[in-house]
Symmetry: C2
Subunit: 275 residues, 2 copies
């Protein structure tokens, strides 16, 4: 059974186009390769009410997992945990484990900077305020811990928005947990470069090959304009067994390659991306 | 009154992390600079049911405008218009204007390639199938036209996923329409580089300056780890009058700069980005 995920990216900087949502892409890629199915990505502002609304909507769609990024830091506009708490109809409270993690971080920072101590101001303690019953996830690179909590069979995981910290917590805490959920599922993909044939001519061919290969997904990506056609066909699948995944993709690849060449199209050597 | 927008990006390639959602960032930036308020970005799969669900949810949230990208091409997995039609409880029908645009495109392509004609296959005619009562938006660079339709006071605009085509339709058809909606509103932003002070120390300072400058939004972006702090403060506003916008931002900038230097922090010359 496929494990389903939704991603929620929190941050006004994404909604004003100041930064690209590289976190969502990184997560989507990692989750897909692990065999999970990312069903939706949402970007919401730094606003408790809005975050809470989105989290409630996601819980109602019942994915197995919701991963949020951003909004865990010390500043007033880091509101993700407040939004999650509101959605879960609970409150934030200082989590003793999270408080201990943060206290240790500032002790270390003080030592490195040759200070006697760095005061635990309210802004710093704020990072230890988690929704009731949540567990903190250690942050190997930064200060704000991640968090995990479960609600109506949806596991909600909150990661920071700073990319290296987000990735470090994913690698250290989340990946092992997800592997237990998915078992050993493999995602396999390959690409075929096609020229000399228009995307609109490919449409019925892709249709036929996908029909003949039910486990395989084929998508065409136009790389030029329709009049100077150059198309990338992306062929992918997920399977329990890596050999099965590769076989499914290869079979579809050979079939579509044959049909395209019969129709006068040219294909380029397959760029295989092993994962 | 602020004009509100939601963006819906359609495409499995975004949900498997194959491509970065540069379209959403480009749109968010352009819309923000024009004074519009992007409230949410959603990424949905190439699935009629899912697209329809998302569109219905967005209509219920009553933004002034919904802009979709992707899923307008000739292939079987280009399903955005079918999803929109389903959400609007209507059907797709061949739009005479869109059909004419597409016919002309293929006549031109045939001429350029020295062919007598290129047949209008079902896959090609598909690009002229718009929801009933929709109007096509000409595509200066590619084949599939964009589309606009209104439902319950929400203007729904569908743009292609190929970035140059998306941008060309935005520039040619959408921007003039949006300017009529917003009037002449200006977005103004500047950045201040801060070092020698931790993000958690900045939090109460930002809070105070935003309180004193109600029209201004300030966000801190950590550029290093907490222990080697280097922070970018992004200060922005929107106003009818460009001078007003600049004044609001400058006043907040001077105030926060003074406070940071008083607390022993260092600031770098402001990178002003005129728009």
């Amino acid at each position: 059974m496929t494990v389903t995920v939704e991603i929620l990216s929190v941050g006004n900087e994404l909604l004003i186009g100041k930064v690209l949502n590289t976190n969502a892409q990184w997560l989507a890629k990692r989750l897909t390769v692990m065999g999970l199915n990312v069903r939706r990505i949402t970007v919401a502002p730094d606003d408790v009410e809005e975050i809470s609304n989105v989290v409630k909507e996601i819980i109602n769609r019942k994915p197995d997992i919701l991963i949020t990024t951003g909004g865990l830091g010390p500043t007033f506009d880091d509101k993700t945990l407040e939004g999650i708490a509101k959605a879960l109809d609970t409150t934030l409270e200082t989590n003793p484990k999270a408080f201990h993690m943060i206290k240790e971080k500032y002790q270390n920072y003080a030592k490195e900077r040759g200070l006697e101590k760095i005061e635990l101001t309210p802004a710093r303690v704020k990072m230890a305020n988690l929704p009731k019953n949540a567990a903190p996830l250690p942050n190997p690179l930064g200060t704000a811990p991640g968090m995990i909590i479960e609600c109506k069979n949806v596991k909600i995981v909150a990661l920071p928005g700073v990319p290296p910290e987000m990735k470090a917590i994913f690698d250290e805490s989340l990946e092992p947990m997800l592997k237990r959920l998915t078992g050993d599922v493999t995602f396999y993909e390959t690409s075929l470069g096609v020229s000399g044939i228009m995307e609109s001519e490919l449409a019925p061919i892709i249709d036929k090959v996908m029909h003949d290969n039910p486990y395989v997904y084929i998508k065409s990506h136009p790389r030029g304009a329709e009049k100077t056609p150059h198309i990338e066909l992306h062929i992918s699948t997920t399977a329990k067994n890596p050999a099965t995944a590769r076989n499914h993709v290869t079979r579809a690849l050979i079939q579509i390659n044959d049909i395209i060449q019969t129709k006068g199209g040219k294909t380029k050597p397959f760029k295989t991306k092993p994962e």
